[in-house]
């Protein structure tokens, strides 16, 4: 089971970064590069753009680490939210460019991942999330993924799925509640 140590370690790193410690930023990058780059590749489906955004994210971490408040959430949530938000911004900026909606790029990227000890702790969490998502009905899971990785709003999701807006709202809320319940059942992983 996961101890509090990684969380505390991340908080310490963010405090050190806020105090302008360059080495701490390097350590945080080493701990989070795989997951954040994975999210960005999944959103943008383009390694070059994802690398560019990843740089922006860590430069933002360097400049804004002092804004992190450990009483408001975990470093993991703060970093992932920051990266996802930057990724979606870039996706919208590139909206005119045709995007090939296929998982091929992401699969290819995942095969390149070396055995990174620093990220190993996440593999168990990854299994918990994927198992929870597998338990959601497709009609609830799909809108959540469209919102999270494609940055679509409820109206846009309704349009894309050809479902009434009210139905989409209900499915998304129910899906999130069920996801929270399934993750909470795994104890301290996500709360």
């Amino acid at each position: 089971m996961r101890s509090e140590q990684p969380h505390d370690q991340d908080v310490d790193l963010l405090k050190a970064i806020a105090a302008r410690n360059e080495a701490a930023l390097g350590q945080l990058y080493d701990r989070y590069r795989l997951i954040l780059f994975g999210v960005l590749v999944r959103i943008l489906n383009n390694r070059e753009e994802a690398e560019d955004v990843l740089q922006e994210v860590f430069l933002q971490v360097w400049r804004r680490a002092a804004d992190f408040d450990e009483n408001r959430g975990r470093p993991f949530t703060w970093l992932v939210t920051l990266a996802r938000s930057r990724g979606i911004d870039r996706l919208r900026a590139l909206a005119s460019r045709e995007r090939v909606a296929t998982m091929a790029g992401a699969t290819e990227a995942s095969e390149e991942v070396s055995d990174a000890a620093t990220d190993a702790i996440r593999s168990e969490e990854r299994g918990v999330v994927n198992s929870a998502l597998a338990q959601l009905p497709e009609e609830q899971k799909r809108p959540l993924m469209l919102a999270y990785f494609d940055g679509l709003t409820q109206s846009e999701i309704a349009l894309q799925l050809g479902a009434p807006l009210g139905t989409v709202k209900t499915r998304m809320r129910t899906g999130m509640m069920k996801l929270r319940e399934l993750l909470s059942a795994r104890g301290q992983y996500f709360h």
């Binding site: 360059e22 996802r84 911004d89 990220d119 959540l144 409820q154 009434p164 999130m176 996500f190």
Partner: protein, 266 residues
């Protein structure tokens, strides 16, 4: 809107998937409700877990180097200038032995200059991107403000009316609002319309009793299905009319040729 209704929107806000109107209303409520702010943090944690469903991926090693290089130049900017040109005395003396102090110092300075220019260029690129994004956001806010002002102007005029249009047939899921005043000046705002095929536009119609529909102006929604239209409501349609929207050949038709996508009640 009641507190409970806002609470039910928090999970979707954590996914940043609320439509703009809902998001604005909820932001206002959040500024006043500590309970909802706490619950939002909890939902954000759940939403962040979705990141773990993306397969991990390894960025190229240059990314780390570029980040650290940019960070160092950021730190350098905050230090004194003397540190930038500081050379160890012993190294300078060693080079002096070769009799090429001037040339080598110039070469080193030139190299530093090139690196510095590259770092600045990279920062400039990032800033330009941010600046473009802010400009786009500003333009969007200005357009929304102009639209809101126009709406207020219409609704505060004598004989102002406000009608809602609901999606029907191929337009199920779409919505629109039509505001007009006693002089007939009208503003229509539509959402979630299906994209108009090439060579087609949406057209507004005024239906009074059993008479043939009176054609209005045409418009094309954006890629999000949002569109707006300014028109004049005919005098005989001011007091009692059904408003409808159909898909017509670009430029409009004199009589409807497609199914109704949106329509109001009487």
């Amino acid at each position: 809107m009641a507190h409970q209704e806002y609470k039910e929107m928090l999970a979707v806000l954590a996914l940043s998937a609320l439509d703009a109107v809902d998001e604005r209303a909820l932001s206002q409520h959040l500024s006043e409700c500590a309970e909802c702010r706490r619950e939002l943090a909890d939902w954000e944690s759940t939403a962040a877990a979705l990141a773990l469903s993306a397969p991990p991926a390894e960025p190229s090693p240059q990314v780390r180097d570029q980040i650290m290089s940019a960070v160092r130049s950021d730190a350098q900017k905050q230090s004194t200038q003397s540190r930038v040109v500081e050379f160890p005395q012993s190294r300078r003396e060693r080079w002096t032995a070769f009799g090429n102090v001037g040339a080598i110092a110039a070469a080193v300075l030139f190299l530093m200059l090139i690196i510095w220019i590259l770092v600045l260029w990279q920062q400039n690129r990032a800033l330009r991107r941010e600046s473009d994004m802010l400009a786009r956001q500003m333009q969007s806010i200005q357009e929304e403000t102009a639209r809101a002002n126009e709406l207020v102007s219409i609704l505060s005029s004598p004989g102002a009316r406000f009608r809602s249009l609901s999606g029907t047939g191929p337009g199920v899921g779409a919505t629109a609002q039509l505001a007009y005043d006693g002089s007939g000046r009208a503003l229509l705002m539509a959402n979630a319309l299906p994209p108009a095929p090439r060579g087609k536009q949406y057209q507004l119609w005024f239906i009074v009793g059993n008479n043939p529909p009176i054609p209005g102006q045409t418009f094309s929604p954006d890629e999000m299905g949002k569109g707006e239209l300014r028109d004049e409501v005919p005098e005989r349609a001011l007091d009692s009319a059904v408003f409808a929207i159909t898909l017509e050949p670009a430029g409009g038709s004199t009589a409807p040729t497609s199914a109704i996508y949106l329509r109001s009640g009487l």
